[in-house]
């Protein structure tokens, strides 16, 4: 409804009707990049990288474990960032971005936990230990779930947006606190009996493979989030004329093909 007013502002692409086609054009490129990089990373990780001296082949989990762990943390930060922007500038697109990020972040968080657990069994002898890093990752998963559950439970989108933004920001303030408290808690109790082993001198192929996979995860995230945001925009803006036009076009495209 306020579209014309917005398009005059500096943030032209913050207007959903400008962002929507842009996202539609960019997403496939990111998806393609993700695919290519994943294949390259897998090739590096599974075929080129040498066997680890101490761990044998299990260590190959690292090529998804670490990118997933990184992504899960970055995505939460991005979520909090967009939430803050939304609360301050009152732009609907920011809220949409933060809500579109959440499921992907939660997915990566779960993947980090899952791969870590599977890695832990052969190396530590247990699927799970209450190590600081593991624990804060688990709490991060709960923060994601809380955000998703809250925004889903509220039907009115305006309320959902702003309530979710508040919890994302409160969570973001707490993430470092959680991280350090957990670290302290763990080291106080049991010293260094368990710690994430670092390959002493990581072979360059390993490092490169890991970085390639990390960039691939970035590309994948961007593509998925853009696509998800597009659906959310359509839903939110269904009362506007431009969505009407978009839908018309979709229908003709479908009719044309049928």
């Amino acid at each position: 409804m306020n579209a014309p007013e917005r398009s005059r502002s500096l943030f032209r692409f913050a207007a959903p009707h400008n962002f929507y086609p842009l996202a539609g054009r960019l997403a496939p490129w990111f998806a393609a990049a993700a695919l290519v990089l994943t294949l390259a990373g897998l090739w590096l990780g599974l075929f080129v990288a040498p066997t680890d001296a101490t761990q044998g082949e299990v260590y190959r989990v690292i090529f998804i474990h670490v990118p997933a762990a990184w992504m899960s943390m970055f995505v939460y930060l991005m979520m909090a960032f967009w939430s803050g922007v939304g609360l301050v500038m009152n732009t609907r697109l920011s809220f949409i971005m933060s809500q579109a990020l959440a499921p992907t972040g939660a997915m990566f968080c779960f993947v980090a936990l899952w791969t870590g657990a599977l890695w832990g069994k052969p190396t530590w002898g247990a699927y799970w230990v209450w190590d600081a890093r593991l624990t804060s990752q688990l709490l991060l998963l709960f923060l994601y779930f809380g955000f998703i559950a809250l925004t889903r439970a509220i039907e009115d989108p305006r309320r959902a947006d702003r309530a979710g933004a508040i919890i994302a920001l409160v969570g973001a303030v707490n993430v470092p606190i959680i991280y350090f408290s957990v670290q302290w808690w763990n080291t106080l109790h049991q010293g260094a009996s368990v710690s994430v082993t670092k390959a002493p001198s990581m072979a360059t192929t390993m490092l490169v493979g890991m970085l390639v996979m990390a960039i691939a995860a970035w590309m994948y995230t961007i593509a998925v989030v853009l696509w998800r945001a597009r659906s959310m925009i359509l839903e939110r803006e269904r009362h506007t004329e431009w969505v009407g036009a978009v839908l018309e076009r979709e229908m003709q495209a479908k009719g044309g093909r049928a």
Binding site: M1, N2, E155, D156, R158, R238, H239
Partner: protein, 208 residues
């Protein structure tokens, strides 16, 4: 003076009304009318600032109520569907708290007088939980007699559950508030014996 320009209200998928505008001067009694579900309650909540309009603006004494919220709320008395009565407190305690929280200073004596005036002399110290429907309603309405200094009264179906005498009494009180230069905006489906026939705002006319 209260003015609303070009208001629109969206609920879920449905645009309840749009381009709704009205203006309320000192001494006006405005009845918001329309069939069930047309958006009267929604309009009242927009006017109080509890909900945000999809489009449009509301001004009090020329300033947007979103910008000058505190000044506006000092002049506003809103009684909604929910009577804001706590079940564990007596009518007297409820009334005193309502006044104190709103920032009206009122002592025990004036609260007691207001409750007696509205017909709860025998229920002053009962827990509100056991009151009948009409009596609960009255506890909420007693605030009217302590809020004469607030210029704008916004009342959502104030006559619900009241018996015939109480309806007449309340209509009288509203008329007096207007006569004293106040403004009243209310919804109701019942006829009430106002001394002057109220202006009517038909929300249905702005429905889409």
């Amino acid at each position: 003076m209260l003015e609303a320009h070009d208001l629109a209200c969206l609920k879920g998928d449905r645009l309840l009304f749009r381009e709704l505008a009205f203006c309320l001067q000192a001494g006006d009694l405005l009845r918001v009318a329309g069939p069930n579900g047309v958006g009267k309650t929604s309009l009242l909540r927009l006017v109080t600032g509890l909900a945000l309009p999809e489009a449009g603006e509301i001004r009090w004494q020329g300033a947007s109520i979103r910008r000058e919220r505190e000044a506006f709320h000092r002049e506003l008395l809103y009684l909604g569907h929910a009577p804001a009565i706590n079940d564990l407190l007596s009518p007297l305690e409820n009334l005193r708290f309502a006044c104190a929280a709103a920032g009206d200073d009122s002592d025990e004596a004036s609260c007691t007088r207001a409750l007696e005036r509205i017909g709860l002399a025998d229920q002053l110290d009962l827990p509100s939980r056991v009151l009948s429907q009409g009596q609960r309603r009255r506890v909420g309405l007693a605030r009217l007699f302590l809020s004469a200094r607030r210029a704008l009264w916004v009342l959502d179906e104030p006559f619900t559950a009241l018996d015939v005498n109480a309806v007449a009494d309340l209509a009288q009180a509203l008329s007096e508030h207007c006569a004293g230069g106040g403004m009243v905006m209310l919804t109701t489906h019942q006829d009430a014996p106002f001394t002057r026939t109220p202006r009517v705002l038909d929300v249905g006319a702005y429905a889409c």
